[in-house]
Point group: C2
Chain length 466, copies 2
Amino acid sequence: MEFPKEEDFSEWYHKVLDEAQVIDQRYPIKGMLVYRKWGLYIIRQAQQYLERRLEEDGHEPVLFPVLIPEDVLGKESEHIAGFENEVFWVTHAGATPLERKLALRPTSETSMYNLFSLWVRTHGDLPIKIHQSCAVYRYDTKHTRPLIRGREFLWNEGHTAFATRKEALENIETIIGIYGKLIGDLLCLPYQVNKRPDWDKFPGAEYTIAFETLMPDGKTLQIATVHNLGQHFSKVFDITYADEQGGRHHAWQTSYGPGFGRLLAAVISVHGDEKGMILPPQVAPVQAVIVPIIFKDTEGKVRKEAEALKHKLEKHGIRVEIDDREIRPGEKYYYWEQRGVPLRIEIGPRDLEKKQVVVVRRDTGEKLFVPEADLDVHKIFSDIEANLKKKAQESFNHRIKKAANMQELEERLTTGGIIEAGWCGKQECAKQIEPIGTILTIEEDKKTDCVNCGNPGTHIRIAKTY
Amino acid sequence: MEFPKEEDFSEWYHKVLDEAQVIDQRYPIKGMLVYRKWGLYIIRQAQQYLERRLEEDGHEPVLFPVLIPEDVLGKESEHIAGFENEVFWVTHAGATPLERKLALRPTSETSMYNLFSLWVRTHGDLPIKIHQSCAVYRYDTKHTRPLIRGREFLWNEGHTAFATRKEALENIETIIGIYGKLIGDLLCLPYQVNKRPDWDKFPGAEYTIAFETLMPDGKTLQIATVHNLGQHFSKVFDITYADEQGGRHHAWQTSYGPGFGRLLAAVISVHGDEKGMILPPQVAPVQAVIVPIIFKDTEGKVRKEAEALKHKLEKHGIRVEIDDREIRPGEKYYYWEQRGVPLRIEIGPRDLEKKQVVVVRRDTGEKLFVPEADLDVHKIFSDIEANLKKKAQESFNHRIKKAANMQELEERLTTGGIIEAGWCGKQECAKQIEPIGTILTIEEDKKTDCVNCGNPGTHIRIAKTY
């Protein structure tokens, strides 16, 4: 979906989140919210999909405590410098002051790597590949937005240690592949993979790679990051292994994570339309809703048929509900359309006679009359997925634009999107560019003249970002 | 298992937790630990089983923030009195003091019911039945024990609001049934359901019902509780609904939760033996391990057969691994036995010739030679389950004893168990009893003479508790 005006998108977004009970925004702490059934189910699907793929790749699940002692969090200097203004501190238990402050984890590198140093002795203890699904806490002082920028957010974080830099780099490629599947295949979202400029990397990393998609107002949303940590943390936390000759070496590390709240925000916003959500079938809490059309004299038969169809679909692994509330069909349609349920199946007395069902696709609004025996819901779902991917990708593509000078850059960015341009590498030019849009990435191997000074430079991508 | 000496059990318990990598106890905050793969998988099974059953019963999943504002937590006076000494307080964000303190949730009644008051307007908004799987935080000053008594613990908590007391009572019966299935069927654990004495109820409840099992050292372990909250919280948080005549009434509420750490501790300890864990097949992270017996000349064939068997079992939904590490078979046997894997399947060249496999049950040590075509792993699993339940129940039953006087009470309790006795209802007699053992429950409708003074009284159960 595209909403060139940010306030229109914002209004649509809040309405959908509230009315479809995705979340409750009225929790009495700024930047913290309540996940309700509809939002949580979608997150659960994404989480389970991701966990399965990580575990197939040999990642082991773990769960670390939410609290990190001050001295552990503060051990790597760049890292703590990046987070110290954002950390929630526990200072008391009951009325008693604690001997040392405990941080709500803003991310888990330090608490995990502190134990990695106990887990790794020899080459045989490597690689370590672990992941955890949890919440992290950052006292972000920017304007908060539900699911997009908050102070408690749900994610999955992966952490590794390898014997060689080569293995760490291979792992990064594997993770980019897994995240690509999660974002592109499961959630049907278009995305770009951008290596961040050095000034925008994760605190303590060698470099950071980010995934972003485009929101309806044209701003990019960072939905996952992958960090090459090099040996920064392994040197500080003393994660060393003995090779076969007895020499000791520091491990090579990576860490990465997608944010589930942001994935949820993206899947709702990118695919949605004026009626509400349009959910990819694989993550829809309810994949098909059956609406029996009730008249007095045929009520029994129609209800029986609806039940029979429900059982049949459930046998094929489809999440299906019958809506037999005593409200008008039109109200039911509105209700399930807003919630993004991929398929509505209507059964009335005439359909019963004709041995057919009426199938309505949420993504196209298309109404199909299908002989019941021929109904292949899985086939329709894969058509819906293909259509969602295609539509979203087209919208994404046409919002990638070029700018040769500052005037073009400003103009193009008024409706958002990702701008391809050039930068000479000088700080004074970056200072002109960044108030207008954020430099997402610098592609060193591609030459383009600087959008500000016109001198030869390297290719960059610029966007307004969330 | 039974370990009448507490220190013997404690030694066994710590060794299993460490060596089988159930958890890591070396996290640098007292009472907080790291869940590792083996422990987390078992918890995941229990959690998913429970969530499925709660959702079938109409509970909706939610996730509330971990932080609760001080004024919200403090609203119900009995409740805050019960928890105020145990609360971890967040007081700062970065270097900035917060305007009001935020508690790490010790339990979620207050944060949830604060929103219930917004969710409930009329009769049609009821019932509310929600559940969340999360961690809660209590600064317990007693001696901590891994998984049993800590300061961060994993649980699932259910919360409800009903229009009538009758529905609330029915809900309590439903939950007792669901928890009974989780504990008794899935985890094969024997248990007792005890209504706690009034002085031992949940802060803010009308009464509390607890589930307990017996640990190998004879102490009881409370693994789940169910609270009838009456209208205590709905009056304080103003959860009211309009009936059809427009009259306003306060909702009736219940809350409940099993602790996943304690369930894990119980399943490890109750079923285990001197070799380590014996896991019920349904929750075992690996349900069957295939050990190929390798000789040079037949290696290819044996490996191929092992792979074929693995695929066949996986098709039947069994979690199976091949152990082809280059270590002695004996080491492999020890490794998987300690981890409680229900079934070991050995395949060697002679078995290949005879078209058989060698199957070894972890629970009985029984070795079976089974024609490969006849191998019915699901049948063996249900035999294992039945055997685990029977053995555990017998051990439980014979540790329920009677005591007619204080001398008998003390004697019986030296080896633990649950003591059936009587109590006259006078505080001075309770004061004699409770230093020896905790009164788990008072059965008002059953008459037994007081174990201390000999006067007529009601039946009670006493135990040393964790």
